[in-house]
Amino acid sequence: MSIDERLRYTISNPPIVHESFGDEAVIVNLNTGAYYSLDKSGLAIWNLISQGASIGEIVDHLSSRYAAERGKILVSVAELISSLQGEQLIHSESDAVHRANDPVESNSNSGEKIPFEPPLLNKFTDVEDLLILDPIHDVDAAGWPQKR
């Protein structure tokens, strides 16, 4: 699998709202009624995506923290990103490859590395009926509804 490590992603906000805690992120899709959680390496990846890190930067960060081969981490990151895209939580930045890197918060780990567990995106749909029964068509800053 060929992975372009220069790619960056943006959280699709709106309709995605999210909040990170010390050990877990909660992500809510206001359009579908589903919500998600990420912990451990998944939380780290999510936070780095939200900071504008490229795939390569995310992998470098995780490699400094977890005891695993870089290649294995790269595949896990790519798989999670694919899941996040599939759930429409993030989208790739069209100009991401070419834009200058924004500084990503450095958090390199000089201590002992911890075992790496592939990230898992937990999805919850127990309250989606609140939306599914009555879907919303939204118009946001992208434009006023189409004139008749």
């Binding site: 709202v17 909660v26 069209s94 919850f124 309250v127 609140l130 068509h137 800053a141 006023w144 004139k147």
Partner: protein
């Protein structure tokens, strides 16, 4: 150019495009429709102090009075010469004979039952429920709202929730899907999706030492000292709950109203002594029905409490945003959170909450 800057530029350019005028014309048409409804059916007005903010409710005709006003009765204040912070004009097309004007944009095909919403565009919010025809509009610049709804679609237990959510979040007050019970110097929020035991727990407290702020929705200011404000003095019960909570029948104002599969009770008159205007939030409780007799509490993480509070709150509000989630996250970070494991002895529920609060006050 960074993507963020592109987005900001796009947002700016939207604000200067001609459709602004379409919005202005539509607001004028709405106001004219309401004035016409007033001329046809007569007019009345009531004032409410909602978390310290003055709301003037102007009603054309009297059909909506019994549907909108009872849950807000406890917040009613004398007519004020002061300029209200918001004036909401409400009418129903059936009895006034005046429909809301067609909105000036595409609302999809006639079979589509979706809500159509416009979010905070130039200070303007709009939501049309196509299935029922219920219309909600807020124009922040004019401090003016419109609510047009048929009687059959009026929400007995939580009227004007969308308007109030749009209006007061600008002041840092967030509508949360939560019950609230406690003492005037501190209380607990009860959070969770429908069926989790939230309403039962809140209504049980009417037969205890604890005061009542809400069973389903309240206003919460987050920040350093989170505070819950009363919004509705109503409660919603299933027929089974209504049977179990026999003391509620004695406290409820009559007549109660049936909404969907639940009975709505109003507490402003006969249970006024149990109602609190609000309290500092000292803890968040996530009820869960576990069986057994007694009720106990188990500490949980803030994120677990957020997962119980946030989705059901956000999905019920039109125009919910990151700001609303951030407020809920601030809240659960600030106060201890517990899972309230509900037993079958209903009297034990308020006792457990009271003990938790008293321990927290020590």
């Amino acid at each position: 150019m960074a993507a963020k800057a592109v987005k900001e530029l796009a947002a700016d350019s939207v604000e200067t495009t001609p459709p602004v005028e379409a919005g202005e014309e539509y607001l004028d048409a709405l106001e004219n429709a309401f004035l016409k409804a007033e001329r046809h059916a007569g007019s009345s007005q009531q004032f409410y102090s909602i978390a310290g903010h003055l709301l003037q409710l102007r009603l054309a005709g009297d059909a909506l009075i019994p549907l909108i006003t009872p849950p807000l009765q406890h917040l009613r204040v004398s007519p004020s010469p002061a300029e209200p912070a918001l004036r909401v004009c409400a009418w129903d097309p059936e009895t006034t004979g005046v429909r809301a004007p067609d909105c000036p944009w595409d609302t999809g095909d006639s079979g589509d039952q979706a809500k159509i919403s416009v979010r905070n565009w130039d200070g303007f919010e709009f939501a049309l429920f196509k299935g029922t025809g219920e219309l909600n509009v807020l124009d922040r610049r004019r401090k003016l709202g419109f609510h047009c709804v048929n009687r059959a679609a009026a929400i007995f237990s939580g009227p004007l929730l969308i308007q109030i959510h749009w209006w007061l979040r600008e002041f840092g007050l967030h509508c949360m899907h939560a019950g609230a019970v406690g003492f005037k110097h501190g209380g607990a929020l009860l959070v969770g999706k429908g069926g989790s035991g939230k309403s039962t727990s809140a209504l049980c407290c009417l037969d205890s030492n604890l005061g009542y702020v809400a069973d389903d929705h309240c206003l919460v200011s987050a920040g350093a000292a989170p505070y819950a404000h009363s919004l509705y003095s109503s409660g919603k019960l299933t027929p089974a709950q209504f049977e179990k909570l026999s003391f509620v029948k004695l406290l409820a104002d009559s007549p109660s109203s049936a909404a969907a599969d639940k009975t709505v009770i109003f507490l402003a008159q006969s249970a006024r002594h149990k109602l609190l205007p609000g309290f500092p939030v000292r803890m968040v409780l996530v009820p869960r029905i576990v069986g057994g007799l007694t009720t106990g509490a188990v500490p949980i993480s803030p994120v677990e409490a957020l997962k119980a509070l946030a989705p059901s709150t956000l999905f019920q509000l039109i125009g919910a945003s990151q700001k609303d989630l951030r407020a809920m996250a601030e809240l659960v970070r600030k106060v201890p959170c517990y899972r309230l494991e509900l037993g079958t002895d209903l009297a034990a529920i308020p006792r457990a909450i009271e003990q938790l609060l008293l321990r927290q006050f020590e």
